[in-house]
Amino acid sequence: MRWPVPHGFRAQIAIISAASLAVTGLAIILIRDVISSTESTLVAGARQQCEAACRELKRQYHERSAYGGDSLQNLPAEAQDISLKGLAATVLRSYEGVEGGFYREAGARILGHVYPTGGKAPGLSEREMALLASAAAETERSGRAIRTGVWGRDIAVVVAELVGPGEGAAWALRRLVSLRDPVVEKRRWWLVALVLSAMLGMGGIVSVWYALRAGVAGINSGLRKLEEHFDHRLPSIPGEFGEISRAINQMAERRMALEAELRKQDRLAALGKVVAGVAHEIRNPLNSIRLALELLDRCLKKGTARPEEVRAAIAEIDRLDLILTRLLAFGRPVLTDRRPQDLIALARQAVKLVQDPSRQKNIEITFETDGSAELVADVDGPQIQQVLINLLLNAIEASPPSGRIEVRAGGEDQSVHVSVADSGPGIPESVQPHVFDAFFTTRPDGAGLGLSVSREIVANHGGSLSFQSGPNGATFNVVLPMERKAAGEA
């Protein structure tokens, strides 16, 4: 069986607080019980000790009467006191903490009172005297009496035993200090201190809870913002959470540096590909031009020159020009005409510009917005228009005749997006990883630069270009920030 464990700080703190209170309560009850039980044990022990001492006093009294010389009754009280003290001192020497002697009912007189294990007998207080008198009076009826007096923190146990008719009683007394009184009955300061400490502990727990909650909330909020804007940094927080916050900030810094490095490496790799592609692309038209010019040279020598050779050379030169134009776009990261512009207007313009090729395939292009009259973003208009034209031309190329292309534009909190969805067969899975590679193309007349240039332009704006592909076609999404970002302009 698995116990449900609460994960929230609030529930955990509530459980800890309840447990603390319960433990404190139990501790109080336990201490009280232990004290009571210890005190009861001590009192019972004192009673047993006094009973034994009393029995021995009585026995030795009778022994003395039988064998010890002249009768005490004929002596003055002072002399009796001396004899009985000698007797009691010898008996009570074996009973640690017990004092005692003899009690004569007549005149309520105490004789032979000694406390051999406690020095000189301190004398009995009025209340102890009353307790002894009460016990001695009872011995006349029952032979023996036990009394326990509790006065605040003082406890006295008295045992009295009748010595003989008219001879009074032997008695033994043991004083105890109440354990209960100082800690439970009157001096409750320790209890108050215990409750205060428990409350302080709970206050501490609540305080820690608030600190934890605030720290976690701060980090959560910072992480959310960091997710949206990677240049955001977590605020400075005191304590352990501050260390976490600093560590996250350092991690973000390192990641940004790493990404910049990766971008740089990507560019270098892309440049290598571009150089290879340029060499390959330029070599073909150059060969064609060379062949056309050699043919023209021979024809001129023969006097049979025709304009076709010249036009063929010009066509190859045009092709070279196209390649170089696109290369220029690819290698132009700096946005020269960036300003707040309406993306809906740019998209509509791009749709107009591809009307001719779409008509040739009888393809319908629809344009929808999310209801916004305009979607203003800080962009370089011609470059973004170039991106949209590239996407639309690709969509026309991919869609079958009489197909359909859907263009949608919309905005969110901090960004705008434009999507272009074609009705073609989708992008094969094997091709998808290379869609944005420079000079990668599946078309025989394609340069393989359209999508890679488009992604570069969008990335330069701090946005993203992505795609989803399925059996009913592919959709390319352009997401651009509404406002310019410092880090995105690199």
Binding site: E63, G68, G69, L75, E78, I82, S83, G86, A89, T90
Partner: protein
Amino acid sequence: MGKTIGVLVTLLALAGASVARADKDRRKSQEEKQRERIEELSRKLARRLKTPEPGEENKFLHARASALLERAKQARQDAYLFDRLSRAADDLLEASESIFEAGEPERDPEDDDREEAARALQRYYFRAQQAEYFAGLSKPVLSAPASSPEAEPDLYVKYARSLYQQGRSAYDGQRYRRAKKLGEASAKVVSALENLAQASVRAPEPPRLE
């Protein structure tokens, strides 16, 4: 009227003479008793002094009994003090007698003798333990000017303990009669100390009529 007064005066004179006579009789009776007591103790002491070859303990006991008897004689005006001192002297002489009896030939021990001796020694042991307490209270009496310098209460304690120890050894040697007699002697020395301790308190004053 004159006759009546004369009768009353005569009656008062007769009553006064009667009271004086009763007091004189009582004092005479007390003096007589004291004299008898002194004579009895003197005889006892004389008898004890005739003991052949007295041991160390006996010499001590005889000397102290003699000294106490002398003090008792001097304290005859104080009936209470006389009584305590004479009793103490008597206790010492009885202790001496017990020591003497302890030296008498022992009969063959029986089972009852052993148990009886054991019980008696227990009593004497308890009594011997009281010696120090009474010795402490006896100091004012025993260090009185009339007392000899060696009459230290500690000596009483020493001999009381020594006699008990000798009795205990006799018990171990199955000489139960000797054990009892020596224990008894020890208890008598303690009794003497107890009487001397009691002598340290003042005799109670007779009550006054309101």
